[in-house]
């Protein structure tokens, strides 16, 4: 048990800190500091341009994609060095927002399943901030039941096809695609055989988001933003070379993505606790600052131990990773705890603010409406990337060894599984 840096880690930290001090876009610091969570907000500059510039700078100096192998544009660093880097990068880490899905989910999937040539082409471009990736998984009828997706991929079997023999032709719709409008590439799961069991008829591809037939429609969210999108596919062609894994092996490939998603989302999730602690020292009550009120203290302490528990749990995972252990389902607790916590903290903060807690105007609301934005964003956190309920199932089944749910679609070919439509007939 040791929290101190080893001499090697201390050296890494010193080099990282020195490089950041000389290279970070400090002019964006104040804006980044107040940028909400879950989505990068910048007003003085284009956020994608700013994100790409910082990523490129890091890449050129060898600080990008730290844990990836060097041949794929990474730095071959250890998990602990990655943590040290994040600590030193601080607020500038928010600039990685547009690349998070690439680094956290799509990149690792490409690394595990693509050809060597593809990896050497795609991964360094991602590391250098040249490409942005999105994840095309969820559909209107397939959220928690992800394997129930219906987007169809049919191979062009005409040997004389002018468009490209052996290409896959995609038709269907994805939804909740974060950052689709900024994305160059998408990781796409499709159904290639509806006559076999649900999990067996799936195939994974990666797709050029500028392909003809791809139409992206922003979703206007309840929090007055449009980060999520719908993506429609009309006869979109994907070369067979862009298939990841075998035909019918898509679910196995998706599990690579989902496992990395859990690690990537849960480990780095903000909770709003440090900001709440500050608020409690600033808000005045009749008996002095709110933090001196025993009821406030009690609730604050309960948030505090959840926040520190999450942080130290991440350290435990990192330590396990650095010993060569694989990230397991126990990492599901990160997002499960952080999501509900953001919502609870937002409500608690608004309560402390009194009627001024109603104000959402940044110029008028306490703390530039930070907690109001959190209140309105947090419902999504509890759903995206595995809902609270799915995460509890994962913990119960995969960690505690409880039986899987009894499924009505077990042993039923996909095209015979009951749906809302079939129920009406």
């Amino acid at each position: 048990m040791n929290f101190d840096d080893t001499p090697q880690e201390a050296d890494f930290r010193a080099r990282a800190a020195a490089w950041i001090a000389n290279n970070a876009p400090f002019e964006l610091g104040p804006e980044l500091d107040v940028s909400g969570f879950g989505h990068l907000h910048l007003h003085s500059v284009d956020r994608i341009a700013a994100a790409k510039a910082w990523q490129k700078k890091k890449f050129d100096a060898g600080w990008a994609a730290l844990r990836w192998p060097r041949e794929y544009g990474g730095a071959g660093a250890s998990p602990i060095e990655q943590v040290i880097w994040s600590e030193e990068e601080g607020v500038f880490g928010k600039l990685s927002g547009p690349f998070n899905i690439g680094f956290g989910m799509c990149g690792p999937t490409v690394m595990a399943w693509a050809s060597e040539e593809q990896k050497r082409h795609l991964l360094p471009r991602l590391a250098a901030g040249e490409d942005i990736w999105c994840q095309l998984f969820s559909e209107p009828v397939a959220g928690s039941d992800l394997a129930g997706i219906r987007t169809k991929a049919v191979q062009d079997g005409d040997p004389g096809s002018e468009a490209g023999a052996g290409d896959w032709i995609i038709n269907g719709q994805k939804i909740w695609t974060s950052g689709a409008r900024d994305a160059d590439w998408g990781l796409l799961i499709t159904r290639t055989d509806p006559t076999v069991l649900k999990h067996r008829g799936l195939t994974m591809f990666f797709l050029d988001m500028k392909s003809p037939g791809v139409e992206i429609r922003p979703i206007w969210q309840m929090n007055e933003e449009s980060v999520f999108n719908e993506v429609y596919f009309t006869d979109v062609r994907i070369p067979d070379a862009q298939r990841l894994g075998e035909v019918g092996q898509g679910w196995t490939v998706a599990l690579t993505t989902l496992m990395n998603e859990r690690m990537s989302i849960g480990g780095s999730m903000p909770t709003g606790f440090p900001q709440l602690l500050d608020l409690c020292t600033q808000i005045e009550t009749e008996n002095g600052p709110a933090i001196d009120d025993p009821r406030v203290r009690s609730q604050l302490a309960r948030f505090a131990v959840r926040a520190s528990g999450l942080q130290y749990s991440a350290f435990r995972s990192i330590s396990a990773l650095s010993r060569g252990e694989q990230p397991g389902p126990e990492n599901s607790i990160g997002k499960l705890v952080a999501g509900a916590m953001m919502q609870d903290i937002a409500r608690f903060a608004l309560d402390l603010e009194g009627e001024a807690g109603l104000l959402q105007d940044k110029e008028l609301a306490p703390d530039r409406a930070r907690f109001q934005e959190m209140l309105l964003r947090s419902p999504a956190t509890r759903i995206e990337g595995g809902s609270d309920e799915v995460l509890r199932n994962i913990i119960a089944e995969r960690v505690l060894g409880l039986p899987a749910d009894i499924r009505a679609d077990k042993d039923v070919p996909f095209d015979q599984i009951p749906t809302a439509a079939s129920a009406k007939r």
Binding site: M1, I291, R316, V337
Partner: protein, 370 residues
């Protein structure tokens, strides 16, 4: 950074677990619950001889000088097995108070005996309902003689030594060391919510005592003792929480209703998942507390309070929900669920209750005025 126990430490933990599996089956816990004795003397002797209790005591005072990390893991196993032993009072508090505040003579006189289990120490603090604060202390020492009543005192029936917080002649509050074999000590067993670790009322009538630590520093010293004891107690709490969680898990796998294992219902699965989450958050806080304790970090007050608050919550949740999962059978004396429920609620109050530790935590982490 390496945020885990070492292989050697885990081996020690496994050794303690094996010993307790053999020597502390639930029948030993129940014998104490059903009997008059405040703890299992036989188990205490055995654990004492093994040296596990002395993990953090320096060798010059009869300890094994291993360290606090080792003692934390011992505590976790004692909690898991519901060990009916005076650990919180004697090992985590009295020994630590002597280490922090004792004179060489006091340490030499008591620590070797506490480390081996030959003697039992306790801390006598509370006198009346409500959080114990300076205004709640009436016990007084005049001319080296203590008078007053302390209730409830953990392991007060069997203890050989009490560390007592009392008013001193200068008007301050100080710690005093009372040999309970001395004149003027009356002990009376009191019924508490956890009969596997019994308590007493201790009355002192002109009992000779000696000061422990500097005069007027009673609360400051007690705070330091409590920070250390909080980490160690928190490990007992997560050990107990884990045992309660797996007791519920095993029952959910074995019990059938509506033609299926009740563990296949999401209502049960999600309850168990929440118990697991609370336990793991507490465990992570406890690991940090263990580290802070082992290196005597400046962050110990915050780390100890975090471990304490999280572990109290986790054990209370797990022990309450294990009864819920067991249904009506969980409410019987025969099933073991209530032993965890009782223990979790006793440990929640030992060292001061949840609200006290919540307040201590915020005091430790609040941003300082610029």
């Amino acid at each position: 950074m390496q945020f885990d126990f070492s292989d050697d430490q885990k081996e020690l933990r496994d050794g303690v677990r094996r010993l307790l599996d053999q020597r502390c089956p639930i029948s030993v816990v129940r014998a104490v619950a059903d009997g008059e004795a405040g703890h299992s003397a036989e188990l205490w002797r055995e654990i004492g001889e093994s040296g596990f209790l002395a993990a953090a005591v320096p060798e010059q005072y009869g300890g094994v000088g291993a360290g606090y990390l080792e003692l934390c893991l011992v505590a976790q196993e004692l909690g898991r097995s519901l060990a009916p032993l005076p650990t919180v009072s004697s090992v985590y508090q009295a020994s630590e108070a002597l280490l922090i505040a004792g004179s060489d003579a006091q340490k030499a006189a008591w620590l070797p005996r506490l480390a081996s289990g030959a003697a039992i120490g306790t801390v006598a603090l509370a006198e009346r309902p409500g959080e114990t604060t300076p205004g709640a202390i009436a016990a007084t020492v005049r001319g080296g003689k203590l008078s007053g009543v302390k209730i409830p005192v953990a392991d007060g029936i069997a203890a050989d030594l009490a560390i007592v917080l009392a008013k001193d002649e200068a008007g301050g509050q100080s710690l005093f060391l009372a040999d309970l074999g001395a004149a003027g000590v009356t002990r009376e067993g009191v019924k508490t919510i956890d009969p596997t670790r019994k308590h007493a009322r201790l009355s002192f009538a002109d009992t000779p005592v000696e000061p422990l630590g500097a005069a007027g520093q009673g609360w400051a010293l007690l705070d330091r003792v409590r920070d250390r004891a909080a980490v160690l107690t928190a490990f007992e709490q997560i050990g107990g929480a884990e045992a309660a969680l797996f007791m519920a898990r095993d029952y959910a796998l074995q019990r059938f209703a509506f033609g299926r294992q009740i563990g296949s219902f999401q209502a049960i699965k999600h309850m168990l998942a929440d118990m697991y989450v609370a336990l793991e958050l507490a465990r992570s806080n406890c690991y940090y507390g263990a580290w802070a304790l082992s290196v005597d970090s400046d962050t110990l007050p915050a780390a100890a309070a975090s471990a304490r608050v999280a572990a109290t919550q986790a054990y209370q949740l797990c022990s309450a929900n294990t009864i819920q999962v067991h249904g009506g059978m969980g409410f019987t004396w025969e099933f073991d669920c209530h032993l965890h429920y009782r223990r979790s609620n006793y440990l929640a109050l030992a060292l001061g209750g949840a609200s006290l530790w919540e307040s201590r935590l915020i005091a430790a982490i609040r941003p300082r005025a610029a």
